[in-house]
Symmetry: C2
Subunit: 451 residues, 2 copies
Amino acid sequence: MSAADEYIEKNRDRFIEELAELCSFPSIANQGAEGIRACRDWLGERLGRFGERVETLEAGGMPSLYAELPGTGRKSVLLYQHYDVQPVEPLGLWDSPPFEPAVRDGRLFARGACDDKSDVMARLQAVETLEAVHGELPLTLRFLIEGEEETGSMTFDRIVEDNAGKLRADGCIWEAASFNNRGRPEVIFGCRGLLYLQLKVSLLNFDQHSSLASLFPSAPNLLVHALASLVDQDQRVAIAGFYDDVVAANEDDRRVMAGIDPELEEGRRLIGFDRLVGEPPPDRMIEQLLFTPTCNIDGITTGYQGPGSMTVLPASATAKVDFRLVPRQDPADIQAKLRRHLDSHGFEKVEFEWAELEKPSRSPIDSFLGRTVLETEEELFGQPPAVWPFGAGTGPMHPIAEGLGVAIVGPTGAGRPDSRLHAPNENVRLDDYIESIRLIVRILERFGAGQ
Amino acid sequence: MSAADEYIEKNRDRFIEELAELCSFPSIANQGAEGIRACRDWLGERLGRFGERVETLEAGGMPSLYAELPGTGRKSVLLYQHYDVQPVEPLGLWDSPPFEPAVRDGRLFARGACDDKSDVMARLQAVETLEAVHGELPLTLRFLIEGEEETGSMTFDRIVEDNAGKLRADGCIWEAASFNNRGRPEVIFGCRGLLYLQLKVSLLNFDQHSSLASLFPSAPNLLVHALASLVDQDQRVAIAGFYDDVVAANEDDRRVMAGIDPELEEGRRLIGFDRLVGEPPPDRMIEQLLFTPTCNIDGITTGYQGPGSMTVLPASATAKVDFRLVPRQDPADIQAKLRRHLDSHGFEKVEFEWAELEKPSRSPIDSFLGRTVLETEEELFGQPPAVWPFGAGTGPMHPIAEGLGVAIVGPTGAGRPDSRLHAPNENVRLDDYIESIRLIVRILERFGAGQ
């Protein structure tokens, strides 16, 4: 057992208590600044214990926290995490209150326990461990903890641009990826982009008796036709120019993706689908998952939604729609093309109420940091991690990877498929949490010692 | 002033108090039998004061009340009303509690004040008035007061069939029609039919992260395509055979409808539409309103409906859809054709959760009762009423008109366009209510005296 492992083992209970304390803050970014501010203050104090000046970086939205922790080596790493969390609805499905962290069966249950407060604390505990066993850090760390990741990082690109000089580093360790269903670690090197819109159609001043549908236009009918015009059942998007900038998978990508188990049968049992979109063969599933941009309906609201019948011609109808974009699609370009599609197909009255835009991002797998993470994980976990050229989801990687030119790696963290991210009873296994501290310590040691 | 008018004037305050008392019962048919039963008992007692045995007619749903009140003449009239009312949601928009009737500005506000408790009480007061001034009724009245009109009259056809012998009469006076925006009385001679369905698509066991939309099928997307396949923006229904049994307007219908003012400008100001379905010329508006069968979306529920964004691939999606059917479309036939349409267009997974079916109905305008109502209204109101060959909405007329062969007339009642039927602050003008008693007295006197 290394000195670091011993230190972590000795402080295990306190490390877990501190994670629980961080998880007690209701830092929900889209529910006002109060919960965010209390969490930021606690975290700022916690970061400040390492003796450095902690800065609040803002650009009109929720603040990010930043601190530079100088080390002895020439290398530097940017560590990205976020302290904001998802909303907690539906509250009734939680077995214990989401902001009263509770340990059951070797797991800590709380909103944010996994996403992403386990990363925040694991990395702070890793710094403490490194300083304790080495007396100093082997490399310079730039800690960046975002406060609005769960609400689309609306001002994050501005924060990064305004602070480019502080944030540049030899690599960026991102918010962590998870283990898969079979316990295999996964490492990601990018993410898809996102265009999320709220669409609204409003054609009448107020709801009418449905017998008037033979005379008055129907908002839900217009919205339904507009939505149906966008995409078919196999995710073929009908918007002109939608695929113009798509970069397809190349042979390198395919070789890397061949190492990812699509876990088809586990998925079928758990999720219950009859067929997959386009019915791909198993060895093309991951490529389709990552390289197919999507148009997805997140929600529709119109008319009467209670039990039984009510005969109403609704005056308005609303839909939430998201597009997952692959490298190098640009969400602003897709938004403009969507507007043109609607206008040229008779759907001028479908309005955009608001939009969130995030660009896709990819970093090279063979960067020095990338290789360091893969080698360290194979050593610690006893098996090579599955490599994802980019993840299926979205995060604000683009301002850092493409904006600052800093290669990003998302190492394995403490998450499992049953960690219930974004859902009631979010949780993290305590053993996984402690293991994630050990992993970060080793990655930083190895990276700091490298050339 | 006639003796009847004097009697009505003398008892005006009590007549209004009794209407208010009836309106204090929360007789909402789709919210359990308790509110229905208390209202039925009160009404049964009230009907029983005329000395006749009051019967409860049931066929597994909410009960109807029935009483035969014998008169001197050879003629008989069936009087149809209903004592159940719409739900009261949204409760917050009521200025006074819906079941605490309140008089303001010469109106009585309560759920059911107009629809249909003003008819129920006006007709009971008319009986009292006739007996008071004549010592007896000039004709035999068959009182039928339904208890589930607002929930699709699911068992009413069975009740009528089971009691055909009791209910047959020389004509049926239906639940009343309204005055139009310009104060002109309206009389209706039928109604459209209705097929109301709840559709459901369920493709996954639970909601997924929206990044998985490139692999897993989307329930809202399938539902949206199914709905879009049914009808275009101009109410052209694409279901094979949908129009097979439609009987178009003939010259008689057109002549009658030419007497109805479409009130286009009033409608445009109040309702705020840009264009009408199919942009009919004003002199075809009423024909289109009545003779165009519709496919209408009453509501859609799926996915995230709160503020802001949540990236979710919903596991299921639900829509409420209604078809207004014109003579002689059959709702069961349309339901079968809809099923075939969905199955043959790749929408087998769109399930029918439940359905409500009501047939369209038409009665001749020149029946003896029809002529009696039109002549009486012209005399009382000083202008000929507008004649609707049938109304745009739906009621359970078919079992009586087509089932028993009893011609139906819906005379003008106490309703106005601002009576807010089915909406918060439902109300009836007290003067209109009193006038509706006078009208029924005169119709019954004239009909009883006729050959």
